[in-house]
Amino acid sequence: MLFIATVILAVIFQSSVLPVYIADPFKPDLLLIIVVYLALRGSFKFGSPLSWLLGLIKDVLSGLYLGLNAFTFLIIFLVIKNVADRLYAESSFLFVVTVLVATLASATINLLLLVMLTNVPGIAYSITSGLIPHVLTTAFAASLATLFPRFSRGNEAL
């Protein structure tokens, strides 16, 4: 229930609350933060379909291409999950760094898929021009997420 509430809150914040107060490039990717959390703390069985689903939710609320972020999130989850066992997953610092790298990776995979499979001239410029503030604000949002008590306790249910 807490997880569902978190996802709903993240979606509401990202689509209806944050755009009112902050400029476009500074929008953090809250759903990606949840995916990274799932990859570092959650189980493979639960996390992989959920990551895909979170990406699908993001696709419904963004752009024209259903499945773009679903695929990206799944790839990111699988890669992080693959190395998570060798990392100190409880570390807040590691979480923030992973979110930062994952945001970069997400933008790169999105860009590759868009360039390869669609005809949207100029999208590369749009993505790259706003990438640095986007990455930094997402990492900042991730650092705020580490302040929640639930984060330090971990999530046994996942």
Binding site: V11, Q14, S15, S16, P19, D24, P25, F26, K27, D29, L31, K58, V60, L61, S62, G63, L64, N110, T118, V120, P121, G122, I123, Y125, S126, I127, S129, G130, H134
Partner: protein, 273 residues
């Protein structure tokens, strides 16, 4: 002596009463003047009465102050509540005035469109920064279909792309995937307005010999049937003609401020399932 012993107390009381009456009756004619007894008593109490009155007044002030403090505190709370109430009413009134202005402008725009239209409110924006879409609170249950024109009070906003039962996604004209057939109002030069991201658009397929100048107004041409003819799109901010090539590069700033969009009109015409 025996009598005094037996009735001494009664005699004393009676004497006292009689003496009191006598004393009173003797003083009645001179009641306006203080006699020596009165003066003596007054003189002996005067030094005590003055500071006593001052002390009494001091405590009275404190008491009054305390009482008035309690009253003022209550009044303060009441006034604060009143101010809060009035402030919220003021904000509501301002909001109503602003909404009224916006809706009046939207109605003006509605009267310019020769087609049935529907008012919708913007309830969400694109969650990423590189796509430009927004969510409105009307869907297929209100008769909206994909590909319908969405218009703001100032001009064209975009078109519906994904329609749910009660909400729809609108592809804004600044998105890279957007394309609107347009003409330069002054010279009637044709082209297609495409989104560039970052809140700007470009007019493509305008041949280099067409007359386009900075400051020209760009309006919809009506070709394609999605957008009604003559609706404002934007203003030309830059024109670039290279040495080679058959087209010129025209940059357009949309007339609609997408970051402050709250209400839009959906033209209930065309569209597809």
């Amino acid at each position: 002596m025996e009598i005094f012993k037996k009735y001494g107390f009664i005699i004393l009381i009676s004497t006292g009463i009689i003496a009191g009456v006598l004393f009173y009756s003797l003083n009645v004619p001179r009641s306006r003047e203080a006699n020596f007894i009165e003066r003596g008593i007054m003189a002996s109490f005067a030094p005590i009465l003055k500071p006593a009155a001052q002390v009494s007044r001091f405590f009275e002030d404190i008491w009054d102050g305390y009482i008035s403090l309690i009253d003022e505190h209550k009044e303060n709370l009441r006034l604060r509540e009143e101010i809060r109430d009035l402030n919220s009413r003021l904000v509501e009134a301002n909001e109503a005035v602003q909404a009224n202005l916006r809706l009046t402008r939207l109605l003006d725009m509605k009267s310019n469109i020769n087609a049935q239209s529907l008012t919708a409110s913007v309830v969400g924006e694109d969650v990423t920064s590189w796509f430009k879409t927004m969510i409105i609170d009307r869907g297929s249950s209100s008769g909206i279909r994909q590909g319908m024109a969405v218009i703001a009070a100032d001009g064209i906003a975009g078109q519906t792309v994904k329609v749910g039962a009660s909400t729809s996604r609108v592809l804004l004209m600044t998105d890279h995937a957007s394309g609107i057939a347009a003409v330069i109002q002054r010279s009637r030069a044709r082209g297609v307005v495409k989104g560039k991201g970052e809140g700007l658009c470009s007019m493509v397929f305008t041949t280099r010999d067409e007359d386009v100048k900075v400051g020209d107004q760009v309006v919809s041409s009506g070709i394609g049937g999605v957008f009604p003819k003559g609706l404002p799109i934007g203003e030309v901010t830059m024109v670039k003609r290279g040495e080679y090539g058959i087209f010129q590069t025209v940059t357009i700033r949309p007339v609609v401020n997408f970051s402050h969009l709250e209400e839009v009109l959906v033209v209930l015409r065309g569209g597809y399932e």
